[in-house]
């Protein structure tokens, strides 16, 4: 089995930006190589992440309930929420795309909110658990977060293309605003979370 030593026990810190290893220095130190501030743990990581996450959770409700798009054609007037957009894609026969949008717009934001909430809770309560699994979950959340922007881009294109006199018009809805905010806030929440906190939780064994 491979063994490891933690830098902190040797008085070493690693620069969060350029990954230079620096011999133990006091607080408010700057990395000698790249000039970034070095901290043993990112300051106020839990509070910042929690604040961003709570804001995202609040906005998640209007993002899913309010219409993101209003379509006016000669024959009909339709309000589309994110979910009804998915169902429309399904009816048009493109189930792979419907699945893609469903995952990117509904599953991913929800997974991010639940997973980040659970990880934060574990850090605050210092509840012992499998740090490796938690770490992998965090990296998954960090990686998939940006894909939720997919719907925002689709709406932007539809809105700017479909403006054909009175024949067909598409307008953005307030839901799109809330949805965009959820994506940005959850991305910022993941960025401000210090993954190393997961490894600071004392284990049971």
């Amino acid at each position: 089995m491979t063994t490891f030593v933690m830098g902190r026990t040797l008085g070493l810190l690693v620069c969060g930006h350029c990954r230079a290893t620096v011999r133990g220095i006091g607080s408010r130190a700057l990395c000698p190589r790249c000039g970034a501030p070095i901290h043993p743990r990112r300051p106020h990581s839990v509070a910042t992440t929690a604040a961003l996450l709570v804001s995202a959770a609040v906005l998640y409700v209007p993002a899913n309930l309010l219409p993101v798009m209003h379509t006016h054609t000669f024959f009909s007037d339709d309000d589309d929420t994110i979910m009804s957009g998915v169902i429309a894609l399904l009816h048009e026969g493109s189930w792979p795309l419907a699945l893609l949008v469903f995952v990117a717009s509904i599953v991913v934001p929800l997974l991010k909110l639940l997973a980040m909430g659970w990880l934060l809770f574990a850090v605050v309560r210092q509840s012992p658990g499998n740090a490796l699994q938690r770490s992998k979950l965090f990296r998954l959340v960090e990686f998939i977060g940006r894909w939720s922007m997919l719907d925002v881009y689709a709406i932007a294109l539809l809105v700017s293309l479909v403006q054909i006199r009175s024949l067909a018009n598409i307008h953005a809805g307030l839901g799109a605003l809330a949805f965009g905010a959820v994506v940005v806030l959850t991305m910022l929440a993941a960025q401000s979370f210090d993954e190393r906190l997961l490894w600071d939780i004392p284990s049971d064994g």
Partner: protein, 177 residues
């Protein structure tokens, strides 16, 4: 090389040099320019044709009173990629001549932080979804910018894999001599 405890990637190594990074960055700049000059898609319905560009997509939202999402779209598809390419060139070109650009460290740090916020690959998928929805309504003609932006997506991911943060600082340390 991975951490034995948490299996995270510790660092990436690659044999590409500053020259390849500069070459890819210049190609990316040209592709981004093309993507903004030509239309993305054209929509044909009852004899009237409507086209839009990348910036036009953001502008459409802005005109309907959604300035903040318009800004988000413009930033993540055009402005952040542009900043990434230009600042990388600004930092790398002097490095080739064993010089340092003023503000190099701050610029490269900003670049690293902004990396997840450039989303050409997400935009391409979003465009696909929009086009499928539109195909039910009218005739859709893909434009030059759609292809050049797809190529930009590849160039940017290539650029990111040539210039991981650790690699950049290795180049900086190498040029000190």
């Amino acid at each position: 090389m991975r951490c034995v405890r948490c299996r995270a990637e510790l660092y990436q190594t690659n044999s590409a040099g500053v020259d390849s990074a500069v070459a890819v960055a210049i190609s990316a700049l040209v592709l981004l320019l093309l993507s903004n000059v030509y239309p993305l898609v054209a929509l044909q319905l009852n004899g009237s044709v409507r086209t839009t560009t990348l910036i036009g997509a953001a502008l459409g939202l802005y005109r309907q009173g959604y300035a903040s999402i318009a800004a988000l779209v413009l930033l993540t598809t055009v402005l952040i990629p542009l900043f990434q390419i230009l600042s990388l060139l600004y930092v790398l070109l002097p490095l080739r001549l064993n010089r340092r650009a003023p503000g190099q460290n701050e610029l490269f740090r900003a670049l690293t932080h902004l990396r997840p916020w450039a989303m050409p690959e997400v935009f391409m998928l979003g465009a696909l979804v929009a086009l499928v929805k539109l195909a039910a309504l009218a005739e859709v003609i893909p434009g030059i910018a759609l292809f050049s932006y797809g190529a930009l997506m590849l160039a940017l991911s290539g650029l990111a894999s040539i210039t991981p943060t650790e690699q950049f600082w290795k180049w900086v340390e190498g040029s000190r001599a």
